[in-house]
Amino acid sequence: MNSLEFDNVTFSYAGAKEPALKDINLKIPKGQSVLIAGPNAAGKTTLCRCMNGLVPHFFIGDLNGKVTINGINSKQSGIGQLSQVAGLVFDDPTSQLVCSTVKDEAAFGAENLGVSREEIDRRVTDALEAVRLIGYETRIPQTLSGGEQQAIAIASIMVMDPEIFVLDEPTSNLDPIGSMQVLSIISDLARKQEKTLIVVSHSIEHFVDLADRIIVMNEGRVVLDDAPKEVLQKTEQLLDMGLSPPEVTTLFSRLRAEGVSLGGGKIPIRLEEAYGALKNVSARKAPEPKSSAAEKRGDVVIEVKGVEFRYPSSDVLALNGINIEIRKNEFVAIIGQNGSGKSTLVKHFNGLLRPSGGTVSVYGLGTAKTPVWELSKRVGYVFQNPDLQLFNTTVRNEIDFSLKAIGMPLEKRGDVVESVSKRLNIQQYLDTSPGTLDKGGRQRVAIAAILAMNPDIFVIDEPTTGQDPAHSRQVMNIARELHSEGKTIVFITHNMEIVAEYAPRGIIMFHGRVLYDGPVRQLFQQTEVLKESFLEAPQMVRLAHMLRNQGFPSTLLTVEEMGEFIKQNVG
């Protein structure tokens, strides 16, 4: 019996104009591991919701066709019953944890099913052991790290002993350490416990080893469905949809398109395969890729001197002796795990936080005594979650709010609103409510509101976390444009591919200290530092390292650079 069967399934949410799922036909056998990928609004989450009965019992709508879960027709069975067969884990770790202690959280599902107390204890211990959280029983879930929270979420599904595990973007809100933690649990589920595993994710690279099958969805339909090796051959199609295949795959696909063949066979999907295909290429003395020549260094705009910072209820130094200078028109990435101090540091740039020791000055003005709204005129801070800021009934008012707040006279405001909205492509929405836009649109409105104030420095807080690749790039491209207009950009991330592609300068932080501050090209050479802070260089950099002995310069950063280099040396 198949674990999951979708027969001609079409589903529309109540009140929606377009169906979220169109003509889905899938059969997923027991024990298979499937990766589901696709751009935003492709229907991946809706598909997951069908797998445990949330659709159609909780999310009301029109479900045509039949969804069979372990032989049970989802329309004829309640969610409670189906939860014993299929368990669902969501992307936001905090809002799926409802109990006061880890043990209670883990037991919650089993309690709901009326399992006896002794059995619950046994299952909870087994589950906590499987996710490596034995000893955490009395901890409070909300105080744990993102990775630990997701581990608890998975444990709380395990105690219900389902056959099928569905994980909807389990790592997208986590830092690299958290992702590693969750990935190892997931792979245990697949390999050791032989459960049927459905994972929705944007990080194809991480799941390519685990998945037996990749299903790509777009606009509610299944467009590709095959073994990973096959699906990833269609690289251009994936890139057009805004997905991020592994960098080596993109590399080889592009090279092939440009006529550079490196032996026949399929496009590699793993780093080792790429190395295998390239190891017989030996580079002639090719010039180093052009590193940015010594540019004229601008004046210092942000100066951080000897800064220490302690949060009010804590003894730990969140920032421990930071000395940084940011100059005009720089493009800086601040990298590190959660809790490394990156957000804490950048919040000092506009006065959201004041140092416990040392000084921070922006354009020569000390931040200790200047209020946030004053500093916001020069330092624009783009928050990760636009929904924290939007509250007006029209987009126009939303942008206007910032301008009114900083005291711009009425006559000038109208023009600024128009020009900013045109630039961010939201002009057509000016008189509609921001709540009707999708996440990307709302993010652009929030950026517009900051852009309208015309600050000289932009701080962008984690544009990559929790976003699909297309959206992250959208924000980063806006940043690049602003940079070319002379603005200074500082952004926080732990996505190394984005760092390699956009930022000339990188600062690595770990436990409140700066471990590295310098050009990104050299950053990726610091293997010790990267290891210490649990960061992994992008695939291209790792590939270049592996090919050192063939004369590949290890300072290659991106797919473009690697591609250029190979073309020059093979063609």
Binding site: F58, L390, F391, N392, T393, S433, P434, G435, T436
Partner: protein
């Protein structure tokens, strides 16, 4: 026995005020969604009070943001959920406020349940100027903190009068911003 035309006209007067049965749902409906709303808004009210967020009106008198949550929240959570919101809103000041808040939140949930826009604004405002200060004054008297009924009444009246524009503005913005909110509140 009213003729069809007359009965229709009678309905026309009542219809725009009261929500239909379909719009309402069952009174004690308390599924997971209502639990979610109750927990979320209750937690929100508690958090706002714990953070001390409010507008100082006079020294020692704070217009608590949690009261706005306690007025608008029950629109989402229904009657049973309103009990939860009341309990959680009351706890941060002292246990004794629970019996003050819970009947009030339940009252508001009924207002939102039965009335259409803009009548719920009207009734809420009337309640805030009459029932609210009376109820609070009674309990202040029992506890003895403000022994004179009229002083207690007057001081609560001032605070409640400030809540009226706050919750009207909040609801109007929510209705326009979010179609989901509009569907629920009406």
């Amino acid at each position: 026995m009213l003729s069809t035309l007359e009965s229709n006209r009678a309905l026309l007067i009542i219809m725009p005020i009261f929500k239909t049965k379909e719009e309402r749902g069952s009174i004690w409906a308390f599924g997971s969604l209502q639990i979610g709303y109750a927990a979320a808004f209750g937690g929100l009210a508690f958090a706002l009070r714990a953070l001390g967020i409010g507008i100082p009106i006079a020294p020692g008198m704070l217009m608590d943001a949690r009261d706005v949550v306690a007025i608008v929240g029950p629109a989402f959570s229904g009657l049973a959920g309103a009990i939860i919101i009341g309990i959680l809103a009351a706890l941060p000041s002292a246990v004794f406020s629970v019996q003050c808040y819970v009947p009030l939140t339940m009252m508001h949930s009924l207002v939102f349940r039965y009335l259409k826009w803009p009548w719920y604004h009207v009734i809420n405002s009337i309640l805030l100027l009459t029932v609210y200060p009376t109820w609070w004054a009674v309990w202040y008297q029992i506890f003895g903190f403000i022994p004179n009924f009229w002083v207690a009444f007057a001081s609560n009246l001032i605070a409640d009068a400030v809540y009226i524009p706050s919750n009207i503005i909040l609801i109007e913005i929510l209705r326009r911003y979010s179609p989901a909110a509009k569907r629920i509140i009406g």
